[in-house]
C-alpha cells in the first residue's frame, strides 16, 4: 500500500477544532501527519487538494443494503461503492434483511461481504428482537462480538415499552446504543404520507406527527429510567426536536439523526402521487422542515444520516398506497447538505463535518471521524463548490429511487480514501 500525501487542501477536523490549509499524510492505513509543507515522502501518491476540503470520511449511521435477501435492489458491495462515491468511508447497515440480522452468523456475513467489497466500511447493526418481532431480545453479546455496533429493529418500532426498557438496560453491558424507529403503530397504521392538508386533498391515509412524537417521548423517558443510550432514527417533526432538546437539557443520554429529505422536502412533494416522495417517516410540513434545520444547527440533532433505502423501479411504479417506503440517499447527501444547509448559512463546513463524520463516530463509538495522528486513514476530499445535476443513471447504487432527479446541487466528493486506499476517485 502506497503512502498518500494530500496536498494543499482546506483541512477541516472538528474533532481537534482545526480548520485551515494543510497537507495530510497517510501511511500504513493511518493518518501519519497533518501539517504545513510536509515534503513528499519517497514513493507517496500525491493528491492535489487545492481549492478542496479535506475531512475525516463521512459516516452514515443508517443505511439499508438489502443483502441478504434482496440482492436485486442492493448488495453490501454496491451499497459500499455508492457510499464511497458519496464521500462516505463508513456506513451502518440496518438489520431488516431477509433473514433478519439478529444473530452472530448474520453479522459475520455482513462483515465478510464488506471486507470482500473493499470499499466503504460497513458496520452491521444487530436486531433488538429476534426476527424483529418485538418479543424476545436478540443476543446482543454475540452480535457485538461478531461486529455489531448498535442494535435496532429499524423499519419497525419497538412497540413494547417493556422490551425497549430491557433493551436499553441490557445494551449498557456492551456499551452500545439502542436505535429506535419512533412510530406508534396504532396511529400510523395504513398511513401513506404525513397527515395534513395534502393527505386530505389526495385522499391518502395520513400519519400524524404525534405518531413519532409519542415514541420519541417514551424513548427519552425510558433512557432516563434506565440510564441507557437511546438513539432516535430519522427525526422528522418539530415536536420531536423539542422533546429531544428538553431531554438533552435534562442530561438524558439521547442522540438523534435526521435525513436530507426531511430538511429539504415537504409533504407537498407527494402531489401527483409521486411514489419517490413516499417514505417513512413521511415528508412533513414547512414548520417541521425548519425545526429539523434548526435542530441540526444547534446540535439538538447530532447527526445527518441518509436512511438509504433501495427499491426496484417496478415496486415504485405502483399506486401510491401500494408502493414501498423509502429513497436512496448515499450519492446525494453531501450535495444536499451543502446546497440546503451550508450555502444558505445554516451550517458552516466544520458543522457539516461534525454532523456527518465526527458526531456519528462518537454516537456509535466507531473508529474515524477524526484526522488525529494514528487514527484510521479514512479521508474525504470534496469540492464544496462543484455544481452538478442529479442523474440517477450515474449512480453506483443498484437502485434509482430518488425524488432529487434533475436537481442542481452544489458540492460533491472527489476522492474517498478508506484504510489509506483510494476507493473512489471522480473521473476528470
Amino acid at each position: 500500500m502506497k503512502p498518500i500525501l494530500i496536498r494543499g487542501g482546506r483541512v477541516i477536523d472538528p474533532s481537534r477544532g482545526t480548520d485551515g490549509v494543510a497537507d495530510v499524510y497517510l501511511e500504513g492505513g493511518k493518518v501519519a501527519a497533518v501539517g504545513r509543507d510536509i515534503g513528499t515522502p519517497d514513493g507517496a501518491m500525491v493528491l492535489d487538494a487545492s481549492g478542496k476540503i479535506v475531512t475525516p470520511g463521512l459516516i452514515d449511521l443508517h443505511v439499508h443494503l438489502r443483502e441478504p435477501g434482496q440482492e436485486e435492489l442492493e448488495t453490501v458491495a454496491t451499497g459500499a461503492m455508492a457510499a464511497a462515491a458519496g464521500g462516505f468511508t463508513a456506513v451502518c447497515a440496518m438489520p431488516n434483511t431477509d433473514p433478519v440480522t439478529d444473530n452472530q452468523a448474520a453479522i459475520g456475513f455482513i462483515v465478510s461481504q464488506a471486507q470482500r467489497a473493499g470499499k466503504a466500511r460497513v458496520y452491521p447493526i444487530g436486531a433488538i428482537s429476534l426476527g424483529q418481532k418485538g418479543q424476545q431480545l436478540a443476543e446482543f453479546g454475540e452480535l457485538v462480538g461478531a461486529g455489531a455496533v448498535a442494535v435496532s429493529d429499524d423499519g419497525k418500532p419497538v412497540v413494547s415499552s417493556h422490551l425497549m426498557r430491557t433493551a436499553l438496560e441490557y445494551a449498557r453491558t456492551f456499551g452500545i446504543p439502542v436505535a429506535d424507529h419512533c412510530e406508534d403503530p396504532t396511529l400510523a397504521a395504513g398511513g401513506a404520507m404525513h397527515e395534513g392538508i395534502v393527505s386530505t386533498r389526495l385522499g391518502l391515509k395520513g400519519i400524524p406527527s404525534a405518531a413519532e412524537e409519542i415514541m420519541v417521548a417514551r424513548n427519552i423517558l425510558l433512557a432516563e429510567l434506565t440510564g441507557g443510550h437511546v438513539h432516535l432514527c430519522h427525526m422528522s417533526t418539530r415536536g420531536s426536536v423539542e422533546l429531544i432538546r428538553r431531554g438533552k437539557e435534562s442530561g438524558i443520554r439521547v442522540t438523534a439523526e435526521a435525513c436530507p429529505h426531511h430538511f429539504t422536502l415537504t409533504h407537498e412533494r407527494c402531489e401527483g402521487y409521486d411514489t419517490n416522495a413516499k417514505m417513512n417517516p413521511p415528508l412533513r410540513e414547512p414548520k417541521d422542515r425548519e425545526a429539523i434545520r434548526q435542530g441540526l444547527r444547534d446540535g439538538t440533532i447530532d447527526a445527518i444520516c441518509t436512511d438509504h433505502a433501495p427499491h426496484h423501479y417496478d415496486a415504485k411504479e405502483r399506486e401510491f398506497d401500494n408502493a414501498p417506503n423509502g429513497i436512496i440517499g448515499l450519492e446525494t447527501a453531501l450535495g444536499l447538505v451543502i446546497s440546503e444547509l451550508v450555502v444558505p448559512g445554516l451550517l458552516t463546513l466544520p458543522d457539516l463535518v461534525n454532523r456527518m463524520s465526527t458526531a456519528p463516530a462518537r454516537i456509535f463509538n466507531l473508529p474515524g471521524g477524526t484526522l488525529a495522528a494514528g487514527s484510521p486513514a479514512d479521508v474525504l476530499i470534496a469540492d464544496p463548490a462543484a455544481e452538478w445535476v442529479v442523474n440517477p443513471a450515474e449512480f453506483f447504487s443498484k437502485s434509482r429511487n430518488t425524488p432529487f432527479t434533475g436537481r442542481r446541487l452544489t458540492g460533491r466528493a472527489d476522492v474517498t480514501i478508506v484504510r489509506g486506499q483510494v476507493v473512489f476517485q471522480r473521473a476528470g
Binding site: I197, T200, L204, G272, D314, E317, E319, D321, N322
Partner: protein, 335 residues
C-alpha cells in the same frame, strides 16, 4: 370565444376550472333527454371502444357508465378485478397497457387506491375517467350531485350545501367540495370529528359539529353512506348512536327554517345516516340523482372523445336535433 376543453382525462374536479365544470353540466342537459326516448341511443361515440375497469365492487356507477356508453353507441367491455389477470398479480399498468394493445379509446376506472386514475392516465394514451379512486375523488358523482342541485335551485352560486357523515373516507365528499366551491356555493361538512379529515377547513369549507346546525344552515344536505367497518375500526361507537346523534330524520328536518333538498350518493343505510321517511320523502332527490348520473357520464364521455359542446348547431350527430327537441326536459321535482 374559445371553448374550454377537458383535456385527456377526468381524474377529479380539483384540477378543473369553473368553466370546465359548467361545460360538463351544460353538455349533460341535452343528454338527459336521450334517456327519455323510446329508442335511447345517439351515434355520438359510434366506433369508440371503452373498457370499464372496476377493481372495486360497484353497481350503480358501473351500470350508469355502461348505459351512458351504450346510449352513445360506443362498444364497451367490462373488466372486474376478480376473474381477470389482476387476480394473478398483474399490475395496474400492465393490465391497462394490454387492454390498450387491443386498441381501445377510453378507460373508466374504479380502484381502491387514491390516485389510481391519475397514475393510469399518465401512462396510457387512452382517455381515462375516474369512477372513484380510494378516498380521493369520484368526479362524476360530484357532477351529478351538482346537476341535480342546479335542476332544483336553478343555480349553484350562493347555495348552502352541507355534506354530512364520513368525510374522512369519502371521495364523494372531496369531489363535491371541489366542484361546489369552484361554482361559488357555500359548503359545510358535518359529522363526528373523528370522521373529518385533518385541515379540511383549508379546502374552503365550514365545519358544523352537529347535524342540527347543518339543518338550520343549509339549503341542501348531501348525506353520505356510513360504512360499518369504520365502526369496527374505532371511528365511532355504534350505528345506533350514529343515528341518534347524526341521523337525518324527519323529526330533525321539521325544525329547519325551510325545506331542505336531500341528496345521497347511495347505497343507503336506511335507519343509520338517513331515515326511510326522509329518503322516500318529498324533498329527496336520490333517484333523480341516479337519472342525472347517466346524463353527466354521457357528457363526460362525449367531451373527452372530442365532441363539441355546441350541439344545437352540429347537425345529425346532435341528440337534441335528432329528437327535434332543442332544450332538455329538466327534472323539476315532479317525481
Amino acid at each position: 370565444m374559445s371553448t374550454p376543453s377537458l383535456g385527456k382525462d377526468l381524474v377529479g374536479l380539483e384540477p378543473l376550472s369553473a368553466e370546465q365544470i359548467l361545460l360538463i353540466l351544460d353538455t349533460a342537459e341535452p343528454f338527459k333527454e336521450v334517456s327519455e326516448r323510446a329508442i335511447k341511443k345517439v351515434p355520438a361515440l359510434r366506433g369508440k371502444t371503452i373498457v370499464n375497469l372496476f377493481f372495486e365492487a360497484s353497481t350503480r356507477t358501473r351500470i350508469s357508465f355502461e348505459f351512458a356508453e351504450k346510449r352513445l353507441s360506443a362498444d364497451t367491455v367490462n373488466v372486474a378485478a376478480a376473474g381477470s389477470s389482476v387476480s394473478k398479480g398483474e399490475t395496474l399498468v400492465d393490465t391497462a397497457k394490454n387492454l390498450e394493445a387491443m386498441r381501445i379509446d377510453m378507460v373508466v376506472i374504479r380502484h381502491e387506491a387514491s390516485g389510481a386514475a391519475q397514475f393510469l392516465g399518465q401512462r396510457i394514451r387512452s382517455n381515462v375517467i375516474n369512477a372513484g379512486d380510494g378516498k380521493h375523488e369520484h368526479p362524476t358523482q360530484g357532477l351529478l350531485d351538482m346537476l341535480t342541485l342546479r335542476d332544483r335551485f336553478k343555480r349553484i352560486k350562493g347555495l348552502k350545501v352541507a355534506i354530512c357523515g364520513d368525510i374522512l373516507h369519502s371521495r364523494v365528499a372531496r369531489s363535491n367540495i371541489w366542484g361546489l366551491t369552484k361554482l361559488g356555493a357555500e359548503v359545510a361538512v358535518c359529522g363526528p370529528a373523528s370522521l373529518l379529515p385533518r385541515n379540511v377547513q383549508d379546502l374552503g369549507v365550514t365545519i358544523l359539529p352537529r347535524i342540527e346546525d347543518a339543518i338550520q344552515w343549509a339549503d341542501a344536505l348531501n348525506v353520505l353512506r356510513l360504512q360499518l367497518e369504520r365502526m369496527e375500526a374505532g371511528f365511532f361507537p355504534s350505528l345506533r348512536e350514529y343515528n341518534r346523534v347524526f341521523g337525518v330524520t324527519n323529526e330533525r328536518l321539521a325544525r329547519a327554517p325551510k325545506d331542505l333538498l336531500i341528496l345521497h350518493p347511495g347505497p343507503m343505510n336506511r335507519g343509520v345516516e338517513i331515515d326511510s321517511d326522509v329518503a322516500d320523502g318529498p324533498h329527496s332527490v336520490i333517484l333523480p340523482q341516479v337519472t342525472n348520473g347517466v346524463a353527466v357520464r354521457m357528457a363526460v364521455l362525449y367531451l373527452l372523445a372530442g365532441g363539441s359542446p355546441d350541439w344545437a348547431q352540429s347537425g345529425d350527430e346532435s341528440p337534441s336535433t335528432s329528437s327535434g327537441q332543442a332544450l332538455p326536459r329538466a327534472e323539476r321535482g315532479e317525481r
